[in-house]
Structure formats: C-alpha cells, structure tokens
C-alpha cells in the first residue's frame, strides 16, 4: 500500500490482542498432533520389527516421561479439535432453505457428531 508512514510490526504482534494469542495457541497445538503422529509411525515400524522390538518399545513408552508427553499431546489434540470444530459452521455453513443452521448445532452435525461416531466405531472394534 502507498502512503508515507507504515507503523512497524514487532515480533510480539501476537500479544496485541487476546484473539491473536488464541490463534497462536491453536496453531502451535498442531506440533503436538504432528509429534504424536511420528510416535504412532515409529510404533508401527517397531511392530514390523518383530515381537521383541515391539515389546521393548512399549515398555519404553510406559515410562513417566513418555506418559507425561502423551498427556500433554492429548490435551493439545483435544484443544486443536475443539477450536477447529468451533469454526466449522463459518467455513461450511449448512443452509435449510433461507435459514442457516445455528452455529452450535452445525458444529455438532459437521464436527462433534462424526467425530464421536468414528470414535465409537473404533472403540467398539478394539474392545469387541
């Protein structure tokens, strides 16, 4: 944009508004999701490496450090999911004729509903 004076943006721009901080927290939770995916891939790799390798990996994972890492990753992943489901009604509005489905209901229909359904199917499949 033209003009004479451009107000400078410092590195701490995200501290200027609470909304910016919430945005940064939402974005940073994706690192924990990615980190957990890497752990899952390593687990699959160890599974391919035979029973002994897998058992050794599992016992390593049950150490306090890994447990703490998993709890942190779980909290980050849940927060990541909640924040994205909250904006689903904006990105994918559902129209019923002239009326837009109210945001909380749309979040359930488009986000929480399918999420809980898939989770229930996986839990049933694992526990059957």
């Amino acid at each position: 944009m033209s003009g004479r004076y451009h107000r400078p943006h410092g590195w701490a721009w995200f501290l200027e508004r609470p909304g910016y901080i919430r945005f940064m927290v939402r974005e940073l939770t994706s690192f924990f999701v990615a980190g957990y995916l890497i752990v899952l891939l390593v687990t699959l790799g160890r599974l391919g490496g035979g029973e002994a390798a897998f058992a050794e990996w599992l016992s390593a994972l049950s150490g306090p450090g890994w447990m703490l890492a998993h709890v942190v990753a779980l909290i980050a992943a849940v927060w990541h999911s909640i924040t994205w489901f909250a904006v689903v009604p904006q990105a994918m509005p559902v129209y019923l004729g002239e009326k837009k489905l109210p945001a909380p209901l749309a979040a359930v229909v488009m986000g929480y509903g399918p999420w809980l359904t898939v989770t229930a199917v996986i839990v049933w499949w694992v526990l059957r």
Binding site: M1, S2, R4, R17, G19, F23
Partner: protein
C-alpha cells in the same frame, strides 16, 4: 493499524480501493444489459446464500484487525475477499471464474490463516473469515478442476 499514515489521523486508502476493485464486485453475465426477459429473478433461499456477505459498509475495521493484512501486501484482505465471495454466491452472477483468476493468485486469498479477528470486529456481522474459508474451498476445487481440464480444453 495496518494502513499507511498520510498525516495525523489520515490514512492512505489507495491500496484498499485497488483491492476492492480487483475482485470485480459487481454482477458479471453476458446478458447483463438484456432486459427483454424481464428481471433476473432470485428466490429467498438464493438471496440467503450471500445476503450476510453483502452487508459490508467498507469501515475497514477488518483490515485494522487482520495481522496478515499488515504483513502481506499481496493479500487482498477480509472485506475485498468477502465481497468477491458475495458475488460468486449470487445466483444471478456468472463471473466466478474471472474473480477466481484474481483471488487464487499467490497470497491473494491463501495468505489468510483464519485468525478470525476480522469477524470479531465486524459491526455488520458480515463474517469475512467464514466467507474467505468458503472461497478457499471453492478455489481448491477449482485448482483440481483446472489441473484435470486446463483452460481451453473446451470443458
């Protein structure tokens, strides 16, 4: 914030006006001047698809609230993109391809990271952030369509 200062409380609006014009915020169709068929009718349901995005009063609060608008010059910004989306969603309009040619270039729309503050500050409840995400979804579909059947392939 984000607008260059000319003097005291006066900011330069040139860039904003250029971006607003760039998205072709008007009905585009071949027979736009042909009145022989009467009005171009629209149902209440078709109106509802874009009405919210047509309420913009160009107050530019969304540009002031958007961290991307201040960092990325190529980014068209919340109001302009919401207005472009408003015409793309208008059942009387046929200009989506022309607008997407502008919106899908570089950071024009993809600069948006869905911070969402534009929607928070909007006094007319336009929800520019929502409009931009919907336009991105259309753009992503268009990207693959153009990949499969490039322009001029007669599809």
């Amino acid at each position: 914030m984000n607008f260059p200062v000319e003097r005291d409380l006066v900011v330069s609006l040139d860039g904003f006006m250029d971006k607003l014009e760039a998205v072709k915020p008007y009905i585009i169709r071949d027979d736009v001047n042909d009145t022989s068929g009467g009005e171009f009718l629209q149902s209440p349901a078709e109106l509802a698809q874009y009405k919210q995005y047509s309420m913009c009063i160009n107050c530019m609060l969304c540009y002031a609230a958007c961290p991307v608008a201040g960092h990325e010059d190529e980014f068209l910004g919340p109001a302009a993109l919401a207005l472009g989306h408003r015409y793309n969603k208008d059942s009387r309009d046929q200009g989506q391809a022309e607008r997407l040619d502008v919106m899908l270039v570089g950071e024009a729309i993809w600069g948006c990271t869905f911070v969402g503050e534009c929607t928070v500050v909007c006094p007319k409840h336009v929800d520019p952030a929502g409009a931009i995400q919907q336009a991105k979804a259309v753009g992503a579909q268009e990207f693959f369509k153009r990949f499969v059947a490039p322009k001029g392939a007669g599809v």
